[in-house]
């Protein structure tokens, strides 16, 4: 059954390539995947223990490569974190397929590429084998390049090339780290990585410490590039800004989370604490740059989509803060759930904002702040929806991002002994909190520039958001509200 989660989008994508009616097939397959994902999540939630859950039909294991001392097999299954990520992928895929208008000649490419990216992301999240975990992610790289390159806006060819080469370079570093990790752990099975590494670490302590340190470094920089950690972030904003709506939604919303998900299951849960400790300070410095430096860059942006692209890069800082918190204080049981919840919330909110940006661009023909103004008068619904997602992304209570962010901050201070002065993670949390003010600044300026003030002449005849465009936004907004009001609905999967 779980195999269907990946095969439905793949089959639909191929069907579209071979002439099936593109939009209809895409929506149908996205719907089916969402329904299946919800059923799987409920089954996972209700199962008393992971093992009981495994016997059910939600586990699929098929031997792929049998090497002498280890075996790589196509192994799909659900853990706590991957259930939430699977739900995120299913929801964002449906919204991505619904939003955006495919240009005339390219309908097939538009929908099949989106479905390929979705299938890649889904496969990556539910696979329990390191090899396929990586392989599925790479599947999503090429469609992104094609879509940005051919159907993007602005200086798309250059941006498409830059993004793809950047991601490829990051993936290579990551691959090296993963293979090295798997070789010392002696297995490609993610669940057994921890015991393998522990055994290796126990065997020859001095040499293994620096080997593991090297692996952690590679993983951090590999995943860092995929997730646009500070020094490697210059590909992200332009790529999302010039990508067509579905790709921007899927990539910023879902694929970026692959890096963080990977960092959690292959580095944080696997590598012993003594080694992780060394990387905490560097990670905290990088994530603070991510929040403050990229935050300031976002403030200076002149276009909505570039601003949103940069804001998604900035929000990665908070999730890295949670990861740094758990790396510094291993008994920190708030950090991982906080990171996962914030990943889910950010995925949904950034997808919704890109979907609405696409609507603004189609109706107002421009995204420049100085050419927009007073749209609220002729497009009140659009203003309400954009206001909702704007407020969500700056962490307004009652919406999912706030629950995630609050828990991230609490995880930052978890384990701080009040008699001693602040540790690096605590200082990181304090400065990250100032990032919340920065995000409020640029989001409110955006809302004020586009919606408030007098109506500019080009916006006079601008029509409001149509019903079809409202559906994805309302779907995502609804999810944001539900998770924001009652976050336990997701957190139950984690404990």
């Amino acid at each position: 059954m779980i195999l269907l989660l990946v095969t439905i989008p793949l089959l639909a994508a191929f069907a579209i390539l071979f002439g099936a009616p593109s939009r209809l097939t895409a929506i149908l397959s996205a719907l089916m995947t969402l329904v299946l994902a919800i059923v799987a999540a409920i089954a996972f939630g209700s199962a008393e223990s992971a093992s009981a859950f495994a016997e059910g039909q939600w586990e699929f294991k098929q031997l792929a490569i049998q090497a002498s001392n280890f075996s790589i097999n196509l192994h799909f299954g659900l853990t706590g974190i991957s259930t939430i990520m699977m739900l995120l992928t299913a929801i964002v895929t449906l919204a991505a397929v619904l939003s955006g208008k495919a240009p005339e000649g390219h309908k097939n490419l538009w929908y099949s590429a989106s479905l390929f990216i979705a299938a890649g992301a889904m496969g990556a999240f539910i696979s329990k084998d390191l090899f396929f975990f990586y392989a599925f992610h790479e599947l999503a790289l090429i469609p992104t390049f094609l879509m940005i390159g051919m159907l993007g806006r602005g200086d798309r060819k250059h941006i498409a090339w830059k993004a793809t080469i950047y991601l490829a370079a990051g993936s290579i570093v990551l691959l090296a780290g993963l293979v090295w990790l798997a070789s010392i752990a002696g297995t490609y099975e993610i669940s057994q990585l921890k015991s393998g590494v522990a055994a290796y670490y126990a065997s020859n302590n001095s040499a293994s410490a620096c080997v593991l340190c090297g692996i952690t470094g590679m993983l951090i920089f590999g995943y860092g590039t995929l997730v646009s950690l500070f020094p490697f972030h210059s590909w992200a904003a332009p790529a999302y800004a010039s990508a067509p709506a579905p790709v921007a939604m899927l990539h910023a919303g879902v694929l970026k989370k692959f890096g963080l998900y990977g960092l959690i299951i292959t580095a944080v849960n696997v590598i012993p604490h003594a080694v992780l400790e060394k990387w905490v300070l560097l990670l905290v410095v990088l994530l603070l740059c991510n929040i403050i430096w990229v935050g300031l860059v976002t403030i200076n942006q002149k276009r909505i989509d570039l601003m949103l692209g940069n804001s998604s890069v900035m929000h990665m800082g908070y999730i890295f803060l949670a990861i740094a918190a758990v790396m510094a204080f291993p008994e920190n049981d708030i950090a991982i759930p906080a990171a996962v919840l914030l990943m889910f919330a950010h995925g949904i909110s950034i997808a919704m904002s890109f979907s609405l940006t696409d609507v603004i661009e189609r109706n107002a023909e421009t995204l420049e702040f100085n050419q927009l103004g007073g749209i609220a008068k002729t497009a009140p619904k659009l203003c309400f929806l954009f206001g909702l997602v704007g407020m969500a992304s700056i962490g307004l209570p009652g919406l999912a991002n706030f629950a995630g962010e609050v828990m991230v901050f609490f995880s930052g201070f978890n384990g701080w002994d009040s008699s001693k002065p602040f540790g690096p993670v605590q200082w990181g949390t304090v400065i990250a909190l100032w990032g919340v003010v920065i995000s409020a600044v640029y989001m409110l300026r955006a809302i004020k520039n586009t919606f408030h003030g007098e109506l500019i002449e080009s916006a006079r005849e601008m029509k409001d958001i149509s019903l079809m465009e409202q559906i994805p936004a309302l779907l995502l907004g609804g999810v944001l509200l539900v998770v924001g009001v009652y976050p336990n609905i997701l957190l139950q999967f984690l404990n």
Binding site: D333, L444, P487
Partner: protein, 600 residues
């Protein structure tokens, strides 16, 4: 105690109903909003005596859990009385005031949202829930200030309010985090059960929490948003920026101080700083108010200075005095604001006091209520203001701090600028066509004014309505005996303020005093403008430039360009097409191979 749930659910339901269902029928939405708030007032009456705690679990993760719950005790239920009471009066007033406004439905929707979030703050059982509704209140004030969003100034004022509150929330969250890691819990009841020891970390945490209150109650550096918030409709200013929202900061501080225990608090170093910040704010605001020409700005600055009083009281480790002043101030400040709203409505939305005058003859009832409010504000004996200000002066004297003299100075200044307002706006002759044809406002507006007069007159005498925790009996007597030295001082301050106002402003058509420093609000706004311009926008531009050219251009671009350069170099230098060069390469190859095979 399901009744308490209604307090919470009613305003939320009305906000959602108005926003999504009644968008097309403004009158109905106004009615629904008012009825809901009145119902909440009734419920607030019923639960007054109760003492309970209930709620549901919001987030639970191992040992860390946050739940949305209410604590109903004398403090919170009486505070609810104030909130719902003034809320319903404002609703009634707005029905008339906003009659011809196009977006009335959105206005009432946002008002209900505000009521919902204010209830959340008042009844919240833990700090995280307070923080949640803290930001929701910030959002609703953003929506209400920016009600007429066509005006750029309204949009800017709304943005300014939200951002300044956000800066306050920044400190508040750090305070909560520190308090949580010190005590291990965010729940008020658990905090009260085992209060933390007085360490320097606790004093920093308390100061950080006060930073949050500073943002919300507009204390010294973060007060810049309150005068600009007057861009919103006047009933909004009355409800939010006079009585309830700004008081939320003081209420929360009082709650935290009572929970941690005043004996532990008094030993903390940061509390002294809180008192002084309150003092400085009240002094600054009073000075600024003396030179303002807009009626709502004067009232805004007077609110600022009265808030300074309350914070000073809380800072002097006497939250009861602070809460008492909050209680009385809420009523008569709402009265003053609604009175000014009626005046503005009558003078065709002209807010400049130099265009008003002679209103006593044209609008007798409104003017009389306004004068009564002023008397209460300037602490004329036997009025509400007098008793609450007395309690604060007592608190200052008990602590023996110099703030007593600051408080007295501010009292004099308050009297001065309020009577300046009275002489210029109410008495004297009409100075402008607007004020000539001003006539008495409709009954719907006058009713709330009269009710408010009655309530604020009686408020100090019904002591069990005062929002104070059960455990502390009210020790200050209702009727101060005249022998007390302080009473003489406060009456002296009143006289000291009244006479110059009388001399300078009775019958004047032009402002004799001209102190640009005060009128331009000590240039704080300009200073903040520069700080933001330099500290953020220019910095952002520089950072963006660096990000664009250094990281993107040099590092990433550099790598690609150098690879390309290397490729070209090889192509042009090696593949020359000339046989000789190829032969030469051969030779080098041979030599190297020989060397490696034979010698290496």
């Amino acid at each position: 105690m399901e009744l308490a749930w209604f307090l919470f659910i009613l305003p939320l339901a009305s906000a959602i109903a108005i926003h999504f269902v009644l968008k097309k029928r403004p009158c109905l939405s106004g009615a629904v909003g008012t009825v809901v708030t009145l119902a909440a007032l009734v419920v607030a009456f019923f639960i007054r005596g109760a003492q309970s705690e209930l709620g549901f679990n919001w987030i639970s993760l191992g040992n860390f859990e946050v739940n949305i719950g209410f604590v109903i005790d004398k403090l919170s239920s009486n505070m609810m009385l104030i909130v719902t009471g003034i809320g319903s009066l404002v609703h009634i007033f707005s029905l008339a005031y906003m009659k011809e406004d196009k977006a009335k439905a959105r206005y009432f929707g946002n008002l209900s949202l505000f009521m919902f979030s204010m209830t959340g703050i008042v009844l919240s059982s833990n700090l995280v829930m307070t923080f949640i509704f803290w930001e929701l209140v910030g959002l609703s004030s953003y929506l209400l200030i920016g009600h007429w969003y066509e005006k750029h100034s309204a949009g800017d004022a709304a943005k300014k309010a939200f951002l300044t509150n956000r800066i306050g929330d920044f400190g508040f969250m750090i305070g909560i985090l520190m308090l949580w890691s010190i005590t291990g819990t965010v729940n008020f009841s658990e905090l009260a059960a085992n209060p933390p020891a007085a360490t320097c970390a606790l004093s920093i945490a308390v100061f950080m929490i006060f930073l949050g209150a500073m943002g919300k109650s507009a204390q010294a550096p973060l007060h810049v948003w309150l005068p600009d918030a007057m861009e919103g409709p006047t009933p909004v200013s009355a409800l939010i920026h006079a009585a309830t929202m700004v008081a939320a900061g003081v209420y929360m501080m009082a709650r935290v101080f009572l929970v941690i225990g005043t004996d532990v608090i008094s030993t903390l170093g940061s509390v002294e700083a809180i008192a002084w910040i309150g003092g400085i704010t009240s002094l600054l605001a009073a000075l600024m108010a003396t030179q303002q020409n807009d009626i709502k700005k004067i009232l805004a600055y007077s609110t600022l200075s009265q808030l300074g009083y309350m914070v000073m009281a809380v800072g002097l480790v006497n939250p009861d005095a602070g809460m008492f002043h909050l209680y009385t101030h809420a009523w008569f400040k709402a009265l003053l604001f609604l009175g000014s709203g009626a005046i503005i409505y009558a003078c065709h939305h002209d807010q400049n006091i130099w265009n008003m005058g002679g209103l006593l003859k044209r609008m007798p009832i409104t003017s009389l209520t306004f004068i009564f409010g002023t008397l209460a504000l300037t602490a004329v004996p036997f009025t509400a203001g007098f008793y609450s200000k007395e309690s604060i002066l007592h608190a200052a004297k008990d602590q023996g701090s110099y703030l007593l003299w600051v408080a007295l100075g501010v009292a004099a200044l308050t009297t001065f600028y309020m009577f300046r307002l009275i002489f210029v706006a109410i008495l004297g002759k009409a100075k402008h066509k607007h004020s000539e044809d001003a006539k008495e406002v409709s009954m719907l507006m006058l009713a709330p004014l009269v009710i408010l007069v009655i309530v604020s007159a009686l408020s100090p005498f019904f002591s069990d309505f005062v929002p104070l925790p059960e455990l502390k009996e009210i020790d200050f007597h209702v009727v101060p005996h005249f022998g007390d030295k302080l009473v003489l001082f406060s009456i002296g301050a009143f006289v000291l303020g009244f006479i110059p106002a009388l001399l300078l402003y009775a019958g004047k058509t032009k402002d004799p005093l001209n102190i640009p420093l005060f009128r331009n609000k000590f240039y704080i706004d300009e200073i903040f403008g520069h700080i933001i311009k330099w500290g953020q926008d220019i910095l952002a531009a520089v950072v963006h430039f660096l990000d664009e050219f250094v990281i993107n251009g040099l590092l990433v671009g550099g790598v690609t360009r150098s690879a390309q350069g290397l490729g070209n170099l090889f192509r042009s230098k090696i593949q020359t097409g000339n046989i000789q060069t190829y032969a030469f390469m051969f030779g080098i190859g041979i030599a190297i191979t020989i060397y490696i095979t034979v010698f290496a």
